[in-house]
Amino acid sequence: MLVKSILLWIGLLPALINDGGYQIGEEVADFKLKNLDGKWVSMSDYTDAKGYIIIFTCNHCPYAKLYEERIIALNNIYKPKGYPVIAINPNDTEVQPEDSFENMKVRAKEKGFTFPYLIDESQQVAKAFGATRTPDVFIVNKENKKMKLAYKGAIDDNHKNAAEAQKKYVEMAVNDLLQGKKAGTNNTKAIGCSIKWKKS
């Protein structure tokens, strides 16, 4: 009976760990992922950062493409203020060859990415965060030297046209953090491409 229930719990464990990922306010574990130049990047590399705008994105997804310029703009505005963008491609490159490491380099060069574009080959970072789609944003804030999740969700409310967005969720959230407040809106949703998980 005891063995049985322990086995049941072990069986449920991955589901419990992956279910939804980090909650708002929860401490976020650092990661170490490969950048396009072959160097490894962690959040802790940015010693001066007040936090991070972590964006799961990719090459192929039409939504991800529509937001590329806006992601560059976010980094250009908020990196100097202490919130750099770190982009992560979570897709399995066998399922989605367009998102291969080589194609990531091509895309980053074409668009002139001003931020690291990391590959999450094991998909463990995407799972830890509870990312489900591209693009999917997680804002991490440093509080008493701990890294806490401050926002998760969409970049804004108009994927078609940045100029017509009524609510720029990520900007609103980082602006709140910069004023020492909690993000007023800390969880939003948007349509995106499903993350292409490895076929097990």
């Binding site: 789609r133 969409a154 409310d157 969720y169 349509i191 995106g192 499903s194 993350i195």
Partner: protein
């Protein structure tokens, strides 16, 4: 005389449509907002509704779409399928209609013209984070709902619908 001409015109036109099944079968997607989609779902009193969120550019969506489209033909009870395209409304004709006509899609297809996603995703299901494909199954008699934010496999959707139907 005038009435006679009109009648014969109607007969001729009806005959033309009958011998041209391709023309009568070619459906066009209706462009609707989220409130209208809610009404479409809410108006249903009986049977099972299957509401599938897809887009022409979404590979896993295109893969599962035929299984969902054929659902009503493959089960012996009342199933109504609504295929909700999230393609940009501007490409309704060039992408959505072109696709559904080429694939001879038989289910109702709508294009959802409501890009303030955060305002309605939770109304479909609080469990939905926004990735597509996503599918909502509703048993209108019991009110029970099942929601899946992933690609459904061939045969799987029939089983899920059967299970939901039996539960009434």
């Amino acid at each position: 005389m005038k009435r006679c001409t009109r009648m014969s015109m109607i007969f001729i036109m009806t005959g033309w449509f009958l011998i041209n099944p391709h023309i009568s079968a070619a459906q066009k997607a209706e462009v609707i907002d989220f409130a209208t989609l809610e009404q479409l779902i809410g108006n249903q009193q009986k049977g099972i509704s299957v509401i599938n969120f897809w887009a022409t550019w979404c590979k896993p969506c295109i893969k599962e779409l035929p299984y969902i489209d054929q659902l009503a033909a493959n089960v012996d009870f009342d199933v109504r399928v609504i295929l909700v395209s999230l393609d940009d409304v501007e490409s309704t004709e060039s992408k959505v209609n072109k696709f559904i006509q080429a694939k001879d899609v038989v289910s109702k297809v709508v294009v959802l013209n409501d890009i303030d996603y955060n305002s309605w995703i939770d109304k479909v299901s609080p469990a939905w984070t926004g990735a597509i494909p996503a599918t909502l199954l509703i048993n209108h008699e019991t009110g029970e709902r099942l929601f899946f934010e992933r690609e459904l496999q061939q045969g799987e959707i029939e089983l899920l619908v059967q299970q939901l139907y039996i539960k009434k």
